[in-house]
C-alpha cells in the first residue's frame, strides 16, 4: 500500500534571536517563551531561494534512504513563495535534482494546511496513474514576505523545507482525511504588494473554532477516540494556538507535540518537521496530523505506523 516511506528536512543554519528583535516592540521575553513559543527563527541565507531549500531537503532525503532519484515518478512542491511567478518551483527542483523526464512535477498552492493536502493529492495521483514513488516537498520561506516592523508577524515565522517520500514500502499509511475552507475569511492572511498581512484575531477565532471540530470529525470518521491516538502533530502556528486547540478539543498536552521554539512557525513545513522526529520513535503508532491557516483552509488525517 502506498504511504510515507521517509521524511527529511532542511533547516537553514542562521537564526534570528527573538528576544533581541522583540525589544523594538516592547514585548516581554516571557510572552515570547510562554505564548508565541518562539525564541529563535530559522532564517535562510540571502542568496537562497525557495527552490534551493526544497532541493536541499530532497538531497538529504536521498542521502538518508537508498532510493535512486531516477525512481521518482512525481514531484509535488507545496509553496506559496515561489522563486518566480512563472515557472512553478517543482520544475526548478526537478531540473536541479536531475529527475527523469517521465517524472511529473507540479506545485500545490496552499499554506499551513498544505502538507496534509499534498499527502492526499500525491498519494491519489500515484495510485490513479499506476505510479510507484513520489516526493512531497514543502518550502515556504516567509522571510521573503514578512515585514520586520510588523509586530503581528515579525516574531513568528521561520524558514524551512521538508521532503517526504511516498511509495509502496510504507512506514505510515495515511487515512482517512478531512478537509475544509472558510474562503470568506481569505483576507485574514494575505500577501499584498509582496508583504504579508495577518488579522490575528480572525486567524485565532477560525483556528479555535474550526480545528477542534475537524479533529472530532476525523476521529469519528476513523473510528478512533482521543485515547487511541499516540500523538497529535498540529501545525505550529504558535504555542498559544496549539495549546488553545488542545484545550478546546480535549487533547492531553502530553500527546501534543511542540517544536517551534528554536525555528518559528515554518508554515507548510511545520508538520513534516515534527513527523521527521516521530519516524525515529517506534512508540507512536497512531498519529493525527492537522494543518490550518492561509485560505482560511484546514486538513487533517490519521497516520498508522506499519512497523
Amino acid at each position: 500500500m502506498l504511504g510515507i516511506e521517509h521524511v527529511a528536512s532542511y533547516l537553514p543554519e542562521a537564526r534570528r534571536e527573538n528576544i533581541q528583535d522583540a525589544r523594538r516592540f516592547d514585548v516581554d521575553p516571557a510572552f515570547l517563551r510562554d505564548k508565541l513559543g518562539v525564541l529563535q527563527r530559522a532564517r535562510k541565507a540571502p542568496n537562497e531561494n525557495t527552490s534551493d531549500l526544497a532541493r536541499l531537503a530532497c538531497e538529504r532525503l536521498f542521502r538518508e534512504t537508498s532510493v535512486d532519484p531516477h525512481a521518482i515518478d512525481a514531484l509535488v512542491v507545496v509553496t506559496q513563495s515561489p522563486d518566480f511567478p512563472i515557472p512553478h518551483v517543482s520544475a526548478i527542483v526537478h531540473g536541479s535534482l536531475r529527475l527523469p523526464d517521465r517524472c511529473a512535477a507540479f506545485d500545490v498552492s496552499l499554506g499551513c494546511s498544505g502538507f496534509v493536502y499534498g499527502l492526499s493529492v500525491l498519494q491519489s495521483f500515484l495510485a490513479a496513474n499506476g505510479l510507484s514513488r513520489g516526493l512531497l516537498v514543502t518550502a515556504d520561506p516567509y522571510s521573503k514576505i514578512v515585514d520586520e516592523n510588523d509586530k503581528g508577524t515579525a516574531l513568528l515565522f521561520g524558514d524551512a523545507a521538508s521532503a517526504t517520500l511516498i511509495g509502496p514500502d510504507a512506514l505510515y499509511v495515511a487515512a482517512p482525511f478531512t478537509f475544509g475552507t472558510h474562503g470568506a475569511l481569505h483576507q485574514a492572511l494575505i500577501c499584498r504588494d509582496g508583504v504579508l498581512k495577518m488579522n490575528g484575531r480572525d486567524v485565532f477565532n477560525f483556528t479555535a473554532t474550526a480545528v477542534p471540530g475537524d479533529l472530532a470529525a476525523l476521529l469519528d470518521k476513523a473510528g478512533l477516540a482521543v485515547e487511541d491516538v499516540d500523538c497529535f502533530l498540529l501545525h505550529q502556528g504558535s504555542k498559544f494556538i496549539v495549546e488553545t486547540i488542545a484545550r478546546r478539543a480535549g487533547l492531553p498536552m502530553e500527546k501534543v507535540r511542540l517544536g517551534l521554539e528554536n525555528i518559528g512557525n515554518t508554515v507548510s513545513s511545520s508538520i513534516p518537521l515534527l513527523l521527521e522526529q516521530e519516524v525515529k520513535n517506534a512508540q507512536t503508532s497512531t498519529l493525527v496530523l492537522s494543518g490550518f491557516g492561509v485560505g482560511l483552509s484546514w486538513a487533517s488525517c490519521v497516520l498508522r505506523r506499519t512497523r
Binding site: K35, R201, N205, A208, T244
Partner: protein, 79 residues
C-alpha cells in the same frame, strides 16, 4: 439574558488563563490584571460564544477592562 461583572469573572475563571483570579479587578485595565493580547482573544471568543454575539475590532478598541466588557455585552444584548 444580561451579563454581570460576576458572570464575566466566572467565565474568565473557566478559561484557565495564566492570571491570578484572586486579585483580578474588573475595573482595572487588562494589562494591570496581567491579561495579554492573546488572553484577550480567548476571552472575547468565549464571550461571543456564551452570549451569541459578535464584537467588532472597533468595539474591542473601546474595551479596556472586564467591567467595560460587561457593559458592552449588555449594551448589545439590550439593543
Amino acid at each position: 439574558m444580561m451579563a454581570t461583572v460576576t458572570d464575566i469573572l466566572a467565565l474568565v475563571g473557566e478559561l484557565q488563563l495564566p492570571v491570578d483570579m484572586s486579585t483580578l479587578n474588573a475595573e482595572a485595565s487588562f494589562k494591570e490584571n496581567g491579561i495579554d493580547s492573546l488572553d484577550l482573544m480567548t476571552i472575547f471568543l468565549a464571550v461571543e460564544e456564551k452570549f451569541q454575539l459578535k464584537l467588532s475590532d472597533a468595539e474591542l478598541e473601546e474595551i479596556h477592562s472586564l467591567a467595560d466588557l460587561a457593559a458592552r455585552i449588555n449594551q448589545k444584548l439590550s439593543a
